[in-house]
């Protein structure tokens, strides 16, 4: 079954066509959701919700067009909603029951390289817009035009975000790492390439 056939079937309300599409695009959707949220569990939720929304609003999709560009916008919107909800929940739990936040991400903690852990933490501390642009660019190798389409903003905006994000990271590295590099943090110490 080709993508277009699956889209046509889904648009006609056929669940099997929809299942085909889920199988085809699930991993890409998960990768984007992960790049947006940096939380595998949340990315799973985002993908599920995005597919459900896609099925619910299948009437708005032109069966002659590619499915992915339409789906990725849904994924991004769902990811933004999920991130907002997560932030709200974390603030609330922090206030109410003094749970420290943000909680540690086990996938992030599995990074063996100390510099890698530092970088992951540094990216997490970036403003959301810059973090998203950098993660889509460097985690998924998206070019600026694709990122712009995915996030629904002009290419120039993405360039600015990438530039500012990198600048922030370099400044932080200069502040926190330069001249104070323990062996474990050095670039070549225990790099797992």
């Amino acid at each position: 079954v080709t993508e277009l056939e699956a889209v046509a079937a889904m648009c006609a309300g056929d669940e099997r066509g929809f299942e085909e599409l889920v199988g085809l695009f699930e991993r890409r959707a998960f990768a984007v959701a992960l790049a947006m949220t940096r939380d595998p569990a949340l990315a799973d939720d985002v993908v599920s919700e995005a597919f459900l929304r896609a099925f619910k609003y299948r009437g708005r999709l032109d069966p002659n067009l590619a499915f992915w560009p339409w789906l990725v916008r849904i994924v991004v919107n769902e990811a933004h909603t999920a991130i907002r909800r997560r932030a709200r929940r974390e603030r609330l739990t922090h206030v109410l029951i003094r749970v420290p936040h943000p909680r540690e991400d086990p996938v992030e903690a599995a990074e063996e390289n100390a510099l890698g852990r530092w970088l992951l933490a540094a990216i997490r501390s970036l403003p959301a817009a810059e973090r998203e642009a950098i993660q889509l660019r460097l985690m998924l190798d998206m070019d600026e035009k694709t990122i712009a389409h995915t996030l629904g903003c002009p290419v120039g905006t993405i360039k600015v975000r990438l530039h500012r994000g990198r600048k922030r990271l370099r400044a932080r590295a200069l502040r926190e790492l330069d001249g104070f590099l323990p062996d474990s943090l050095s670039l070549g110490a225990d790099r797992n390439v």
Binding site: P40, L115, D141, A173
Partner: protein, 253 residues
């Protein structure tokens, strides 16, 4: 370290891709979840607030806001009342407006809050503001609201920071305020001699000459309600009973 973007990008890309690989390794297809959700009715998919959130998220804020409102209410003396126009007894509602006691409330401000048009008290022609200023008022504002057919509306205003002392007694039946004896200086509004006010239900108020406070009774025929402002900060320490004088005769003295 990371002198140029290339070096930084390489390192970031390596770290992020490794992260994505690890995350994707534990990823399972979402199709079973999606399929299950598709088969459930929409109502079942509606997000519900978990029960464990009931107390901290819903009940505690509710209790807190109720407690705050109660605390504000209990620390606030009623100082502004507005009564329905005496000629409209079919609408005997009373609107209570509460203010923090220490705050002085100007007549203008009170009128603004109550949404009524207010003539100026000071500096207006006496023909428009048929009012007197006299010293003394009441600490026992327990006269009942009695609708009057006079059609006049009276504004009663106690000036900020001043207290009121009116002696109340009952003597038969009469108009809401049948007489107000005594005189004041029309120019300054200063009290000259003891005055008495007889209300329609027979209550009479004697305004003492040596009282230190002032009350302004301003009659205003176009006003659609009677505003009684007893400003905070005076000697009235307990909430005054709901009804006071609702109307005065057009000619106060």
């Amino acid at each position: 370290m990371f002198d140029d973007d290339t070096e930084l990008d390489q390192e970031l890309s390596r770290v992020l891709k490794a992260y994505a690989e690890r995350a994707a390794a534990g990823h399972q297809s979402v199709w079973p979840r999606v399929q299950k959700a598709l088969r459930e009715p929409d109502q079942r998919r509606r997000r519900r607030i978990p029960r464990r959130w009931l107390l901290p998220v819903i009940l505690l804020p509710l209790l807190a806001s109720a407690g705050t409102a109660l605390a504000i209410y209990s620390h606030t003396s009623p100082i502004v009342w507005i009564f329905e126009h005496p000629t409209k007894p079919a609408k005997p509602q009373t609107v209570h407006v509460y203010y923090p006691p220490p705050e002085s409330v100007s007549l203008t401000k009170a009128a603004d809050l109550l949404g009524i048009r207010l003539p100026q008290i000071h500096g207006v022609p006496q023909t428009q503001l048929r009012s007197v200023v006299f010293q003394g008022a009441t600490r026992r504002d327990r006269a009942e609201h009695v609708p009057s057919d006079k059609g006049s509306v009276t504004l009663i205003y106690r000036l900020p920071g001043q207290t009121v002392s009116l002696r109340e007694y009952h003597s038969g039946v009469g108009p809401l305020v049948s007489k107000l004896r005594g005189s004041v200086s029309s120019g300054t509004g200063k009290f000259k001699e003891t005055m008495s006010v007889i209300t329609v239900d027979g209550s009479s108020y004697e305004i003492e000459e040596n009282a230190s406070d002032q009350v302004l009774f301003a009659e205003w025929k176009t006003l659609s309600g009677v505003l009684i402002v007893l400003n905070g900060g005076g000697r009235i320490s307990t909430p005054v009973s709901i009804s006071f004088v609702t109307s005065l005769l057009p000619h106060i003295h």
